[in-house]
């Protein structure tokens, strides 16, 4: 009983807003010194295009396994935060688990596992590749890479600006939630009905908290808009010279080539293996 209580307490603690905030920030800021973060964003985007798309059109188990192992390694290298990985595992598992149950219900048997496994591998590979690229890359490098491929400047600015205000927004959101918690009066929990009502109350509060958050953000954006004008953001958007200067920081190094070569070799080996066996 005591350990159970302790366990529920630690779980509760783990999922405090503070923890969520820390995980999100860790994901955004905490891994800029990894191998993946140092890669050239253009190379990584090409790599992502391949790993994210090709598996959908291939049913060869060897190939899919190889891709999956590859993205597992890159995810490990990118040092992705635990919460993101947990969400990934839960997401993928519920997808297949649910399909498996449905298939059993309609008269399937163990042989249904194989096609499901293939589908799972496809989904998992694709998700992990996305996680590697979008959480492993520094926001600024990611947006520069996108810009090189011709995405509008505004999009790339928005991405890096989002990363700038993320910590501020999360802190403010946390404080507004605390306001509700301090002044509100949650329904008693303990019984089943009570717990459900308590949960509904909490969800309700989280939704309500967005309203003050929006208004506060609108208030502070007045300064930001003026500051952007002073800092010449509007001039830069129409100046091709600026784009060239920004992109001149991108450089393909030996590490990038090595990364591509290793990935290529690994995939080639898997194709070879599937041809042989």
């Amino acid at each position: 009983m005591k350990t159970k209580k302790k366990l529920s307490e630690t779980i509760y603690d783990k999922f405090s807003i503070d923890f969520l905030r820390n995980q999100v920030l860790k994901n955004a800021y905490g891994n800029d010194d990894t191998v993946i973060a140092k890669l050239d964003p253009r190379i990584l985007l090409v790599w992502y295009l391949f790993i994210g798309l090709v598996p959908w059109f291939v049913d060869d188990i060897w190939f899919l396994m190889a891709c999956f192992l590859l993205v597992m390694v890159t995810t490990k290298l990118a040092r992705v935060a635990g919460l993101v990985l947990l969400l990934f595992v839960v997401g993928v598992f519920t997808q297949t688990g649910y399909l498996f149950v449905v298939s059993l219900f309609f008269g399937g048997d163990a042989s249904t596992v194989i096609p499901l496994l293939i589908l799972t591998l496809k989904v998992a590979t694709c998700s992990l590749a996305s996680i590697t690229v979008f959480s492993g890359l520094d926001p600024d490098r990611l947006s520069n890479g996108l810009m090189w491929y011709g995405c509008p400047e505004r999009l790339s600015f928005s991405i890096s600006y989002a990363y700038r205000i993320l910590p501020m927004l999360m802190e403010e959101f946390q404080n507004i939630l605390l306001s509700y918690r301090l002044r509100g009066n949650p329904p008693a929990s303990g019984t089943l009905v009570g717990n459900v009502r308590y949960l509904c109350y909490q969800v309700n509060i989280v939704m309500h908290s967005f309203y003050p958050l929006m208004l506060n953000t609108a208030k502070r954006s007045r300064t930001t808009v003026e500051a952007l004008e002073i800092k010449g953001y509007r001039y830069a958007a129409v100046n091709r010279e600026v784009k060239k200067m920004k992109l001149s920081t991108l450089k393909v190094t030996y590490t990038d080539l090595l990364f591509l070569a290793v990935s290529f070799l690994w995939i080639a080996l898997s194709v070879l293996a599937s041809a042989l066996f």
Partner: protein
């Protein structure tokens, strides 16, 4: 040579009845360090936005007259050209930082204006602003003071001849404030920049500025050399500007004919030393503020340790084995530099944070074991940023929220009473966010006391307020004694501490390094030095004259020092 020349400038916002800037003519010399003072809403910020061309190019309105900035007519040049002449740092400077990393933000403007050496310029600006070595850090890793320096670096990187800062030290502890002004002084003296600050703290004006400009109802009342300006005590006070305490004391003595009328008033402690040299200290009449009786402990910290998970590297330890008791009837001031753990301590007391080891007891019971609805009857926290307390769309609804949630029957009546007590009835149907600084703060106090908590915690209740509003808040604080028995305030405002508190707790490095009355705290200079706190100016004045003198207010100084 004049770097700014203004002739007959009049400006009004669209749909505003009367002009916010009214017929201003002014010259500012190159290399000046100018302080702009004036009432809230007298047009100081608007005036500064005229100088960098935001008005009339970005913010429209009726614009008349001529403004020349370094020879350029602002009407004929665009914001980009003017930004390279005059840099601007906002009061809410966090919102002007738009990039995720330090060097990126410092060089952002230069990149936008397509300067090929943008990185070098960014680095140079960071070095000038004392942020050398932090180039690759993320903004969220900087402290408040460093963030401000970064905002300044972002402006400096364009190498403008003029730098304009709107209330640069409003939220900073004295250590950080000195650093900002130190940087400004170097930029002014070594690099020949013209600096314009909007500032309420006259002590800093006396120490750093060369000229002072007083604005009154949209016009320039006068612009004078700093000493002369600060000696115009009456005029300044009419505009809610409070001259340095030393000047105030001397002014009062002059009126009582205790120092000769023709003698110029001192504006700094150094000058005061001469002006007051004929006085000597008589300790007889004074008494220290004491707690009548140390009441029962209402909050106690027992070996509390807390650390924050950090994004990178090791966790930051805030408290390590903290022990403290807060008793009924305490008017306790928590002081210490930025990041010493004042806010953390308050969050522990309301159970929002969980200590890693140790317990926080409230009324003899672990805070974490008490239900929130019981807790909020006993203790209440008012945030530093009032906007985060407004969760409903009118002030009245916000005050009523907690009472409504608890089905208190006469909550409408109680809300009305609170609105009345905090002078908020006139704007009870407005959104709290749209009120002025002082009104917002009063509204947040009203929300905080709505449930009649036994203990009230206030985080920086006087930050960002001009002196008049500050006095108003202090009056409200003393009125609140009827509602709550125990009040804890975390603050940098030493005048507030000395006038209001009966117990002071100094936090430094995660420990309580001193705990006692104001005499016990300020007599010991090592405490102030280690914790980075500074007593009110008049206290330092008294100490310079006689080290037995412990005067915390101008009145105490006037009584304590007499002619031989």
């Amino acid at each position: 040579m004049n770097i700014i020349e203004i002739e007959n400038l009049t400006f009004s916002y669209p749909a505003a009845g009367k002009p916010i800037l009214n017929n201003i003519s002014l010259q500012v010399e190159r290399g000046d360090f100018l302080a702009i003072v004036g009432n809230n809403g007298c047009g100081k910020s608007t005036f500064c936005k005229v100088l960098n061309g935001l008005i009339p190019h970005f913010i429209s309105g009726d614009f008349e007259g001529k403004v020349l900035v370094d020879g350029l007519n602002t009407l004929e040049s665009d914001v980009g050209t003017l930004a390279c002449k005059a840099g601007y740092v906002y009061q809410d400077f966090e919102n002007q930082i738009v990039r995720p990393t330090v060097l990126d933000d410092a060089s952002f403007a230069c990149l936008n204006y397509a300067m090929p050496d943008y990185r070098e310029r960014g680095k140079e600006a960071l070095t000038l602003c004392g942020l050398y070595g932090r180039e690759d850090d993320y903004i969220c890793q900087l402290s408040g003071g460093q963030t401000h320096l970064l905002a300044l670096a972002g402006a400096v990187s364009l190498r403008p001849d003029i730098l304009i800062l709107d209330e640069p030290i409003a939220q900073l502890d004295p250590g950080h404030a000195d650093r900002i002004y130190g940087v400004l002084r170097t930029l002014n003296e070594k690099h020949g920049k013209t600096i314009i600050v909007i500032e309420h703290h006259t002590e800093y004006i006396a120490d750093y500025c060369k000229h002072v400009m007083l604005m009154r109802e949209g016009g320039v009342a006068w612009k004078l050399p700093v000493r002369e300006a600060l000696r115009r005590v009456e005029e300044l006070r009419e505009c809610n500007i409070f001259p340095p305490q030393v000047t105030l004391a001397a002014h009062q003595m002059q009126r009582e004919k205790r120092i000769p009328a023709q003698r110029p008033l001192p504006t700094t402690v150094q000058e005061g030393k001469e002006a007051f040299c004929h006085l000597s200290y008589h300790a007889a009449a004074r008494r220290d503020k004491v707690r009548q009786t140390a009441g029962k402990a209402v909050v106690s910290f027992e070996h509390v340790s807390v650390s924050y998970r950090s994004v990178k590297g090791t966790d930051r330890v805030v408290f390590d084995g903290l022990d403290l008791e807060i008793c009924r009837g305490d008017r306790l001031a928590l002081i210490g530099s930025n990041g010493a753990g004042k806010s953390t301590m308050m969050k522990l007391m309301v159970g929002l944070l969980r200590p890693e080891t140790g317990t926080v007891m409230l009324d003899g019971e672990d805070v974490r074991k008490q239900k929130p609805e019981e807790l909020s009857q006993k203790i209440s926290l008012v945030y530093q940023n009032p906007e985060e307390m407004f969760i409903k769309d009118t002030v009245a609804a916000d005050i009523a929220y907690a009472m409504q949630a608890r089905n208190i029957k006469d909550y409408t009546k109680r809300t009305e009473r609170l609105l009345d007590r905090f002078h908020l009835t006139d704007f009870k149907d407005r959104d709290g966010r749209l009120l002025s600084g002082g009104q917002m703060r009063r509204a947040s106090l009203a929300i905080g006391v709505a449930l009649h908590p036994g203990i009230l915690l206030l985080d920086e209740p006087t930050a960002n307020l001009d002196i008049a509003t500050r006095k108003e808040i202090m009056r409200t604080l003393s009125e609140m004694e009827e509602i709550t028995e125990t009040v804890v305030i975390a603050t940098h405002d030493m005048q507030l501490v000395c006038e209001w508190a009966n117990r002071i707790v100094v936090l430094c490095g995660g420990k309580v390094i001193a705990d006692g009355t104001r005499d016990e705290i300020f007599k010991d200079r090592t405490v102030a030095k280690t914790a980075g706190i500074r007593p009110p100016e008049i206290f330092s004045m008294g100490q310079v004259l006689d080290n037995r003198a412990l005067c915390y207010t101008v009145d105490e100084f006037l009584q304590g020092f007499r002619e031989v």
